[in-house]
Amino acid sequence: MTGSTASRWGLRTAAIAYLSALLLVPVGMIFYKTFEHGFSTAWDAITTPNAIHAIELTLLMVAIAIPLNTVFGTVCAVLLVRHRWWGNRFIDAVINLPFAISPVVIGLSLFLLYGVGGWFAGISEAGFKILFAIPGMVLASVFVSVPFVVRETVPVLQEIGTDQEQAAQTLGANSRQTFWRITLPAIRWGVAYGVVLTTARVLGEFGAVSIVSGQISRQTETLPIFVAKQFENYNQTGAYAGAVVLALLALTALLAMNLFKGKEVA
């Protein structure tokens, strides 16, 4: 038994050491670095007009991307699980693409489609600015976060089965009533988990938004871009303070994830 106890301790120590060196200590460090010159220094750094504008813009991206991808994700999941047709395999494959594609490639793809000489250049020429403006950034945010709600809702839908839905229909409920009264309440935690993941992804999106936004201060600069710019301009206080704001939002998302995770199939 001593051998197995030793190996158990060895594995545990190695796992904790790896996580500490890679994850825990570095994340702790940015909190320390932010507040080492006092709370007010950090507070001043993230309450400059530029920083506040960046925070507001980031929250706006979240506010637009979430409803769009939640409605789409729920409808798409129901379609994938409940209606069998030839397009399902195709949709299933395309849904996963944003997970695997580099954010830079996503940014470039929108840049080419809506930019000068692109297939949709006409929209900008007609006076509706997409690139270097909020619509382009919304497109990038929605693109990168398309899969989350679908991915989290599909397994829950498969798990709950169709018994209750069929019972409701036998009792005379139309498909709308069945969805709102039976299906949606049953999948709500799966959807909620997907929404949290969507939020985290949109809050932190950097590569794709950098390309389509043009990174104009106080116009198209989101919080992650603000942080990168502060760092490149050797304003460490601003960079770390902005990073801590984002980290706190991420930790909140993480907390929500753990809260929702166990409830998915309840």
């Binding site: 190695a14 994850l23 594609i101 793809s109 080419l112 809050l203 760092f231």
Partner: protein, 248 residues
């Protein structure tokens, strides 16, 4: 409606990249991909991603094992923080690593501007993939097989090699493939810590960004197509591994 949303949002933009890449013919596509700076970036991207997924394949499996089979105080917290790299914005991931392993490192280790920093950042952002792919398999695994092997005189190492590892392989494979896809395209966590030095620490995604800034859209598209193809292959691999896992 669903197909239209996906087509407008995802497929059409990607088609624009492919079209731009081959706009001036196959020869100029090939020239852009095989430009010395592009080849160096692709090489670094692939090698760094490979090293990353090997290390996280080993440590990810180990962490999953500890989280499922071991019991100790604080395990629940450890389990929760595994997902932190998924929740944390990539730019914050980069700054986080610089805070500990940068020029003002409190422990005197500075990896910035080296190729090791590329691997370090990739290890950070891809950490959850293998852990989260292996964990459910370990939870489901039948302990009786291990007990039977032990009663027949097999040692710990033999049990791991002959029983546990083969059972976990689909999970490790899927996790590694997803991590590899993520590593190939990673951008945000790399730009600050690696310094993006051409021929040294510049990965393909950063190189694409540089080409876009220079106004070289066909070149950027050509390299993007290479990355896109790699992503598609890896996604197909994940699907294949998962279908194998279901059959078994």
């Amino acid at each position: 409606m669903v197909t239209l949303y996906l087509s407008l949002l995802v497929l059409l933009p990607l088609a624009a990249v492919a079209s731009q890449a081959f706009d001036h013919g196959l020869a100029s596509f090939w020239a852009a991909v095989t430009a010395p700076e592009s080849v160096a970036a692709l090489k670094l991207t692939v090698i760094a991603s490979l090293i990353t997924v090997i290390i996280n394949g080993v440590f990810g499996t180990m962490i999953a094992w500890v989280l499922v089979r071991d019991q100790f105080r604080g395990k629940a917290i450890l389990n929760a923080v595994i997902d932190l790299p998924f929740a944390l914005p990539t730019i914050v991931a980069g700054i986080t690593l610089i805070a500990l392993y940068g020029p003002k490192s409190p422990i005197g280790i500075n990896v910035t501007l080296t190729q090791f920093s590329v691997v370090l950042a990739l290890l950070f952002v891809t950490l959850p993939f293998v852990v989260r792919a292996v964990q459910p398999l370990l939870l489901e695994m039948d302990r009786e097989m291990e007990e039977a092997a032990a009663s027949l005189g097999a040692g710990g190492l033999t049990i791991f090699r002959r029983i546990i590892f083969p059972n976990l392989l689909p999970g490790i494979g899927a996790g590694v493939a997803l991590a590899f896809a993520r590593a190939l395209g990673e951008y945000g966590s790399l730009i600050l810590i690696t310094g993006s030095i051409p021929f040294k620490t510049m990965v393909s995604s950063v190189y694409i960004f540089k080409l876009i800034e220079q106004g070289n859209n066909p070149g950027a598209s050509a390299v993007s197509v290479v990355l896109l193809l790699a992503s598609l292959l890896l996604l197909a691999a994940v699907g294949f591994i998962q279908s194998l896992g279901r059959r078994a």
